[in-house]
């Protein structure tokens, strides 16, 4: 894109600047739009599973419901509790939102369609997603109220626990792909199974890793079976209890942007990113742009997320910790040994 702006007669620096800014806008604005639509989808899916109608009043089929909600919170008053630590109280939603957006910088939507094609892309995602705990912890502490504080403590322990096993699962994928670069990881999945199917999901050693990754994603984004940070039967609304209007909406947007990020990570790491499912040209699906495949797969994972949310009851906190430390951590460690042993035995690294 820098070249495009240079062709307008800009200097390299100015063109780089303009290209970066427009790249950021090109990712962030559609992301916000898709977050709004995805909230609508989420509510519709729960409604369908619960045999309800869901949002159906604002706009055709209720499609504009999220925008109406957005307008509502935008017009509300921002209430800051008098006992709150004001600076951190206001900073917390901003941190959540910014961090949720920042991770998208390295996500490849198609071959070469990525804002920052860096070598350490996967580590960057891990680093950024480890930051997202701060929004919750800061809001919980700054609210100076009991329930948000409980929620913050739960969130801190939960997210650290599941990050460990996510890290090990990512190592398994990296071992197979031989790179931390997300574009190269997707390319390494081309024709992975017998030269026919694209995606690590069809690999017998990596399939259990995907199952664990999916569950860890639910825990990392605090979605339903693991949403103990905002368990309404115990903690009112958890860390968001004291928030209102736009500061509340920022949490909401950040949370859904994080969920979409995890869905796209599932797509990139295990389901072949922008590649069609089969590597043979049966129907002309190589003519379908890669971004359509990518968004379609991501949407599929989002459907899985809301499906789980509508059907699974909440975990107890000690069971959550047990699952993270006593089940996922040992299994993922064993799989690292097994996978690297298999790769060494078959001479994967000699080439």
């Amino acid at each position: 894109m820098t070249k495009f702006f240079q062709s307008w007669g800009m200097t390299y620096e100015a063109a780089w600047f303009a290209a970066t800014i427009s790249g950021i806008l090109l990712i962030a604005l559609p992301l916000m739009l898709s977050v709004a639509m995805v909230i609508y989808v989420d509510r519709k899916v729960w409604a369908a599973i619960n045999l309800r109608r869901g949002p159906n009043v604002v706009g055709p089929f209720g499609l504009l419901q999220s925008f109406a909600d957005g307008l509502k919170v935008f017009l509300q008053e921002t209430i800051i509790p008098s006992a709150a630590n004001k600076g951190i109280f206001l900073l917390a939603p901003i941190v959540t939102f910014t961090v949720a957006l920042a991770a998208w910088a390295v996500i490849p939507f198609d071959a070469g369609v990525v804002l920052a094609d860096i070598n350490v892309g996967l580590l960057y995602i891990l680093a950024i997603s480890s930051l997202s705990v701060y929004g919750v912890v800061m809001s919980g502490w700054a609210s100076n109220s009991k329930y948000p504080f409980f929620s913050a403590m739960r969130a801190a322990a939960q997210m650290i626990s599941y990050e460990v096993s996510i890290g090990f699962i990512l190592v398994c994928v990296v071992l197979w792909a031989g790179s931390f670069n997300l574009t190269e990881i997707v390319e390494a999945q081309r024709g992975h199974g017998f030269g026919i199917v694209n995606g690590y999901i069809f690999n017998l050693l990596l399939f259990p890793m995907w199952v664990m990754f999916f569950i860890s994603c639910l825990a990392e984004t605090q979605r339903v079976p693991f949403d103990l940070t905002e368990a309404e039967s115990e903690l009112v609304a958890g860390y968001q209890t004291e928030y209102s209007s736009m500061s509340f909406a920022l949490f909401w947007l950040g949370e859904y942007a994080n969920i979409l990020l995890m869905c796209s990570l599932n797509t990139i790491l295990f389901f072949g990113g922008w590649l069609p499912p089969l590597d043979i040209d049966l129907i002309p699906w190589f003519d379908i742009p890669g971004i359509v495949w990518f968004l379609g797969k991501t949407f599929f994972f989002f459907f899985l997320f809301s499906w789980v949310m509508a059907t699974v009851p909440r975990y107890r906190y000690d069971q959550l910790m047990r699952l993270g430390w006593k089940v996922f951590l040992p299994i993922s460690l064993i799989f690292i040994v097994v996978i690297s042993g298999y790769l060494m035995a078959t001479g994967h690294f000699s080439a």
Partner: protein, 206 residues
């Protein structure tokens, strides 16, 4: 140009937030400033091309260590008046440490002016391979040239970890409501449920 601006931005924020870490009155604010300092130090590392170390700094320090710091500091019941009193009490000790550090810096500066240490000549065995990524370079060095030191560092960490667990682990006696999940999962309806149809007024023997 961009790099220079970025460098001064990161560097000034590192120093500023470092100062604020020790100047902040509230310990939680201190930890948050410390996190900002870590984060911008990672930015500086990216600028010199050490992106792997930068990401590790964020993942390990910001993502894990500082969260635990914050976790502990948040739960402290802080009495500010007592903190101030402690400050005045420890002030002489702090001054002494500061004087020692200043003396060391002055000594070091004096030693430099006397001429550099003879370090020997580089044999080139540790030079990074051009055209390879950061991670590959570090891995190639760490697991060949420095494999022994690396393993030793790992063992020391393991010992520290085991030590921490031994110090804090308490054997739970008289576990109340202990849940054995695999045992629960192995229960089948056959052994848990008995269907009886007692005739009226008879009851059943359990």
């Amino acid at each position: 140009m961009i790099q220079t601006i970025a460098f001064y931005l990161f560097a000034s924020i590192v120093i500023g937030s470092g100062v604020l870490t020790i100047m902040a009155r509230n310990p939680v604010h201190s930890v948050l400033w410390l996190i900002l300092a870590f984060f911008n130090a990672a930015g500086l590392m990216v600028l010199v091309g050490a992106e792997f170390l930068a990401m590790l700094l964020v993942v390990v320090y910001v993502g894990a260590v500082a969260v635990l710091f914050l976790f502990v500091v948040m739960m402290l019941d802080i009495d500010f008046a007592e903190l101030r009193a402690g400050f005045m009490q420890n002030f002489p000790l702090g001054i002494a440490v500061a004087i020692v550090l200043l003396a060391e810096i002055l000594f070091g500066l004096g030693a430099i002016s006397a001429g550099p240490i003879e370090l020997g000549t580089a044999d080139g065995s540790a030079t990074p391979v051009l055209g390879q990524s950061n991670i590959e370079n570090i891995g190639a060095l760490l697991y060949t040239h420095y494999a022994f030191l690396f393993e030793i560092a790992g063992m020391i960490l393991l010992v520290a970890m085991v030590g921490a667990i031994v110090l804090t682990h308490r054997e739970q006696k008289a576990v109340r409501g202990h849940q054995n999940i695999s045992k629960q999962n192995q229960r089948s309806p056959d052994e848990a449920i008995v269907m009886r149809q007692p005739s009226i007024g008879q009851g059943i023997d359990l």
